[in-house]
């Protein structure tokens, strides 16, 4: 698994619960190191091990934890560059939803060896969409749910999200767009330089 994913989990724990908790997590994994490097690649079995340890240490259910990580990736100030990159996906939340089909390719343009799970958006009506997420690790659907919820806030859209199940390596989310312009959302200037 790419270091960016593992590093993301680490940043979530350290930014939300402190570095001491993270040391306890990594101690529990028995991997023999504390810090993930964003630009290195790690064995695939490392990520599930780390996620299990985070659940234990924080005493959180697995699905909730993954959803929180997804939300964190968009809403925390320390990850502003990532939020901006996602906002390049479209002018409106619906544009953004459609851009998810290209998410893998967009990620690969930036970091060629980053292999994100394949996701497919189906438009059932102007207000109803479903998102299928084909991921090697169970729970990606939940992190996408957290990420989508935070992105909807970012765009100022009001949505209802539901995780409708997991089968054959594919998780499905149901997305109902209740109000595309519910609030003003957060600023996005095309040319702003992020810190």
């Amino acid at each position: 698994m790419h270091g960016l994913i593992n590093r993301g989990i680490q940043k979530f724990v350290t930014d939300s619960y402190g570095t001491a908790k993270w040391r306890v997590v990594m101690d529990r994994t028995g991997l023999g190191f504390t810090n993930f490097e964003a630009m290195l690649t790690y064995d695939d079995e490392v990520t599930p091990k780390v996620l299990a340890a985070v659940c234990d240490v924080l005493d959180r259910p697995y699905d909730d934890l993954l959803e929180d990580i997804g939300t964190y990736l968009v809403s925390h100030n320390n990850l502003e560059p990532l939020r901006r990159l996602l906002r390049f996906g479209g002018v409106t939340f619906v544009d953004f939803l459609h851009s998810l089909d290209d998410l893998r390719d967009r990620a690969r343009l930036a970091v060629p060896d980053l292999d994100l799970p394949r996701i497919e958006l189906t438009e059932e009506s102007a207000e109803r969409y479903s998102l299928r997420c084909y991921a090697p690790i169970r729970g990606w659907g939940h992190s996408f749910m957290g990420l989508l919820r935070a992105m909807a806030d970012d765009y100022g859209a009001l949505v209802y999200l539901e995780h409708t199940g997991f089968e054959a390596g594919c998780e499905t989310l149901a997305i109902s767009l209740l109000e595309p312009r519910f609030s003003v959302g957060r600023d996005f200037n095309l040319g702003a330089r992020s810190a």
Binding site: M39, P81, L82, L85, R106, V111, L190, G191, R193, S194
Partner: protein
């Protein structure tokens, strides 16, 4: 095609266009063109607003008319004189021309300056994707740079550790061999001192290893203080040290350095309620005394001189002389 649908088409396909009449006055402008010229475009003379830099000969509307389809480099005459790219073609009306503009490579500054958004570009325009890539790549580059810095720091630390005697912080045997070899290769004058502590074994045996370690650290400090920053001090065994004095083979100076070290070694050392007294013997060789000095020969001769100093009653330093090689050694 009638005027209105044509204008709408141009607004959508090339939002940064302007239409000119046959005398070069701007008759209409697309939404993005209007956004970057909020003081107004319609009614202005195109060539009074923009200077055409390339092709250089275009100074009149007739010449512009003769260059349809040519890539133009132009810039605002008003400050900050931003540069643009453009192309001109015949428009739908009689004598009418359409100029389409773009920012080219200065797009990021332009987006910031005019506060442009994705909707200011044509749907097929790749500017937003390019801005995305610029940000994504610089974020990725930043992460790589941080990784490189951490690896570099770790490498320097590992090297430090590998060349350092952990007890005293002096160079270790490996580092000294390395420094000696490089001094020999650049053929710089230098002196090598081989120092051995006197009575140190007794300290370890009677006062314990903690005192022994403390003494070695004190010795390291004394030696470092007696030499200059560029000189090299290393511990090569339990109580054996090598010092490389760079750039000088002046006997008076070397005598003074060795003498200062020995005098300071003889000052009693206190640790808690314990006190110990040691001394030191030093053998010295000069690179300049050999026609072709080698590390082995210099180390061997320094060792001979050191034992001559021990033989002569310890607590002293002796410069190597060839006749010492025949003298009997005592431990």
């Amino acid at each position: 095609m009638s005027q209105t649908p044509c204008r709408e088409m141009l607004d959508v396909l090339c939002p940064m266009h302007m239409t000119l009449d046959e005398s070069g006055y701007i008759t209409a402008a697309g939404p993005t063109a209007r956004k970057i010229c909020p003081e107004g475009l319609v009614g202005q003379s195109f060539l009074e607003m923009f200077e055409i830099k390339r092709p250089r000969e275009i100074k009149t509307i007739t010449m512009l008319c003769d260059n349809m389809g040519t890539k133009l480099t132009l810039r605002f005459r008003a400050a900050p004189r931003r540069q643009l790219k453009g192309v001109v073609m015949a428009g739908p009306g009689v004598g009418e021309m359409v100029v389409n503009l773009s920012f080219g490579i200065s797009i990021l500054e332009a987006v910031q300056e005019y506060d442009l958004t994705a909707t200011d570009f044509a749907a097929t325009d790749l500017t937003v994707e390019m801005l995305y890539l610029m940000e994504a790549k610089s974020a990725a580059m930043d992460a790589s740079r941080q990784l490189n810095q951490r690896l570099q720091t770790a490498r320097v630390q590992a090297e430090e550790l590998a060349l350092t005697d952990t007890l005293t912080g002096l160079r270790n045997r490996r580092a000294i061999d390395h420094a000696l070899a490089s001094l020999l290769s650049i053929q710089e004058p230098f002196a090598l001192m081989h120092a051995d502590l006197d009575y140190f074994k007794k300290v370890n045996d009677t006062l314990g290893h903690a005192m022994g370690d403390y003494v070695l650290q004190r010795v390291a400090k004394i030696m470092l203080e007696a030499v200059r920053k560029d000189d090299v001090v290393g511990r090569i065994g339990g109580d054996e040290f090598l010092i490389l004095i760079r750039g000088s083979e002046n006997r008076a100076i070397l005598d003074r350095i060795a003498q200062r070290i020995i005098e300071r070694l003889q000052v009693p050392i206190h640790l808690g309620d314990k006190v110990c007294e040691i001394s030191g013997s030093i053998g010295i060789v000069l690179a300049g005394s050999y026609s072709k000095p080698t590390a082995d020969q210099m180390l061997g001769d320094a060792d001979v001189a050191l034992y001559a100093a021990k033989n002569a009653g310890r607590g002293r330093h002796i410069l190597f002389a060839p006749e010492m090689r025949r003298a009997p050694k005592i431990a």
